[in-house]
Amino acid sequence: MKIYPKIVTVFFLAIFTTLAHANQNTLNIYIWGNYLPYEIANQFTKETGIKVNIIEYDNNETMYAKLKSLNNSGYDIIVPSSYYVERMSKQGMLLNLDKKKLTNLHHLNPLLLNKEFDLKNNYSIPYIWGTTGIIINTKYIDKKNVTSWQDFWNKRYKNQLMLLNDMRDVFSMSLLSLGYPINDSNEKHIEEAYFKLKQLLPNVKIFSVDTVPNIYIDEDAYIGMAWSGDCKLAQDENTNLEYIYPKEGFAIWIDSFVIIKDAPHADNAHKFINFMLRPEIAKQISVALGYSTANKDAVKLMPLASQRNPILNPSKNIMRQGRIQLDLDNKTKRLYEKYWEKLKINN
């Protein structure tokens, strides 16, 4: 009986020592779930001795709320989407990057630099990007019949569509089909887009955002919206799937590295971003995740099939049709939200 307390004490001490050790030379990354392969972080630790803590979030709003609620959050690097880069830089939450430390900057694809959300890339370095397009199952649907967003409204696809459960993406789709830009803030146009979406509801089978590959792989829906990376992942398990860039245009999203203004390890953060800009590292990540890399020299290192894959690396001609999602002002955002809720209730 007497030995139990000793065992228990030793056990607890052991747990404490494994958990509560403090390492000064660290880097804290707050990033989308599954967005940074562990091996890559490990390699960085091996080369520099900097320990990497990876904490993950599942959407921009969650990340933003957490950072806003804390003064000294302790995070160094985060990876927001383009419109959150814009919002956070306007609110002074981001550090002006020291480009002298980023010697690998020249590897980046110029098509993704100096965009409206961060005109001189003072705050953000593009990491991964993709598009929102149409996915179809060629076993059930003829490729020739689907070339534009407008085709979603065809009565033939009654109760067959899958739409992304993402307000911005769905409104972008509707606005584009009406011939308006995706960042439109004209109230009339947004209302029009809403009424058009309402007409689409009989065709919609499901709204989803977290199980998109499953839905297309298991053929629960034959046609619908998808992010390019999800389509790439789905194709690996169902070869009948095809990705289509709609002719009215499509949204491009870019997730970028930014450094928090009061980052405790800003120097390590610059080192890490520079490390991630190496072509061979960027290539490994793109291959592992199925999403496009912003590193043009990384593309050259890929196998020829991947280089020419229109999902992973669309040509300049296709890219010209794409538009980047920008931040909406609060009034427009509320309008979007109002119509989005109405749309979901009607469903």
């Binding site: 607890f12 599954n34 959407n59």
Partner: protein
Amino acid sequence: MSKFIRNFYTSCVYIFLYLPIAVVIIFSFNNAKHSLVWQGFTLKWYAVLFHDTALLQVAWNSLALAILAASIATAIGTLISVSLFRYRFFGKKILHALIFILILTPEIVMAISLLLLYSFLKIPLGFWTLLLAHTALCIPFVAVTIYSRITTLDTAIFEAALDLGANDLTIFHKIILPLLFPAIVSGWLLSFILSLDDVIISYFVSGPTFNILPLKIYSMVRLGVKPEVNALCTLMLLFTLFAVIASYQSIFKKKLK
């Protein structure tokens, strides 16, 4: 006929409770990365899991945190319920009520208030803030579990012990603890599970240096939960099952004696 209806009803309830768990276990053996259709049996995901040091580290963090929080909460909760039962002091009724109110408080309220507190005191978020929060979450549950058991005890035992010259410490050690042992174990298990699967409070009070499993799984949802998570959940389920069986056996054996 009525027997059939009764059995049918019972089976429905149990199927409803256990089917989702069964699905997780079955899909941990499914030979497909994303598909939710059966593609053949494989043990691949278990192999992947044991090579995924990041996921295992996070799982270990969660387990260790749960063990620590449950143990501290059980120690404090036991003392609370014993003192509420044994002693008279000023404000006892209010303290008693406050414990119950904590159980009914929505977790989100506790989460926000803890976050505000930490932010006000400038405590960096991480392991310690999580441990404190989880302990605070578990204490009322332990106190209530043990209190409901302690009220069934015969107070004459304590008087007899006092008569025979035992002091408070001896009574606590020799009488109360052994009698309450089953309740303490169930209080500990309850706390362990509460801490292990807590998302809401953890989400607010976790920091950049310490990640735990529920948050990791939650953040994976958007880009697809990997099948190895199913494997991990299956293993954890087995682990909990063994813990429950072992604790119940030890309690029942004691009772038989």
